[in-house]
Amino acid sequence: MNWNSCERQIEAIIFAAGEPIELSRIAQALDLEENVVRHCIHRIRERYLEHQSPFDLAILDDAVQMCTLPEYGDVIRSALELRRTAPLSQAALEVLSVIAYNQPVTRSFVEQVRGVDCSSIVRSLVEKGLIEEAGRLNIPGRPIAYRTSPGFLRSFGLTGLEQLPNLPDDAEEEDPQEPEQLEGQMDFFEL
């Protein structure tokens, strides 16, 4: 294996690791001496510098991590922040509304209503500060219950949950064909 090919492989490993990775692990995977790995990393850093690459390899103790140079911090932050402010997807809105109108509810309640896995959506709504954990329900498995947060009220211009738009249930009571939905809900709580 020549120097170049070693360097490429080391670069690929450090990139994919994301987190700092021990030089010993890289050495083992490539069947190289740790010193050789260290030397390759040195060469890669020189090349980055020479090519004015925005990347660098940061050596921390016996581990190495790929990162961007500090001067790119601002431009990265502004691009990624823009990315974070994407509007809620239809799926996220649905999960949010099921939680808002039924809180506190478990994730599996939401999944039962929507008929699909909602774990990643629930996670991202928690991250966005739109919902929060509300303890655990006292039913088998003690699942986490979720409720909307103050951030939710802010985003939808409400001062309290009582301001949520009314469900059109008055109109529905006259229609004897519609009780299915409510039954399904009760079944769930009676589980």
Partner: protein, 242 residues
């Protein structure tokens, strides 16, 4: 035979359609003009052989067997050529579609590199992930309606929604028979239209229709005036008032 080989035998076929495609090519049947009798024979033979090997036969495969039996039965009935042809063409269409799907899967599978390509996690940049956009609260209601499938309330609901209820008689046909007879006794003759209009929902209409069929078949009532009016049979002889 070891368990592994056994499992392999069944896993060979992703679905009943897969097995049929296999049988069609193995026995050189014409997919555009399927000989249902021989296909059924081959199909049942395969299932039997699985059973003798103590393999679990998934219900999907049994369902397909009964479908094939049904198509064959229809082919034996006199004056059902059209229906038979339709059933056979449906099967052909499905088979062609599925074979295209299989081929597409094979093509895609051959270019799959997902397991060899690595990406990295987003850089842990410290910034407030809090949601900052604002929306009118009304979108929540609309989203809730969608989540609960209520957006479609005026349209027929999906079959799954009613699965727990499907075995519950919604409107009894017997009750409708009484309704029809009562209306006839009161008025002597009734427009069929009016009987239908007495219902507000589909199941009521269907029950009324079934009740009418039942009554007409047993000769208790008769259709009259170009089949738009219902009377008791003896009234057939009388002239209408007009």
């Amino acid at each position: 035979m070891s368990m592994e080989t056994l499992n392999f035998t069944v896993a060979q076929y992703e679905a009943p359609l897969d097995l049929i495609l296999h049988l069609i090519s193995k026995h050189k049947l014409d997919i555009l003009d399927i000989d249902i009798s021989s296909l059924l024979e081959q199909y049942l033979e395969t299932i039997e052989s699985w059973k003798t090997q103590n393999l679990e036969v998934a219900s999907d495969f049994l369902e397909m067997a009964s479908r094939l039996v049904y198509i064959k039965t229809v082919s034996l009935l006199p004056r059902h050529e059209e229906e038979h042809e339709k059933l056979r063409q449906d099967l052909t269409g499905q088979l062609i579609e599925y074979s295209i799907c299989k081929q597409a899967a094979k093509t895609l599978g051959s270019v799959y590199i997902g397991q060899d390509i690595f990406v990295r996690e987003p850089a842990p940049i410290e910034f407030d992930p809090a949601y900052t956009l604002t929306h009118p609260a009304g979108v929540l209601l609309a989203a809730l309606a969608d989540a609960m499938g209520k957006g479609a309330r005026r349209l027929p609901p999906p079959r799954e929604a009613f699965e727990p209820l499907i075995n519950r008689p919604i409107v009894s046909v017997t009750a409708k028979i009484f309704t029809v007879l009562r209306a006839l006794r009161t008025d002597g003759r009734v427009k069929v239209d009016r009987l239908y209009r007495m219902n507000t929902d589909r199941s009521g209409m269907i029950a009324t229709f079934l009740a009418l069929l039942e009554l007409i078949k047993s000769g208790k009532v008769a259709l009259y005036h170009d089949q738009v009016e219902l009377t008791f049979p003896h009234q057939n002889l009388e002239e209408p008032n007009s």
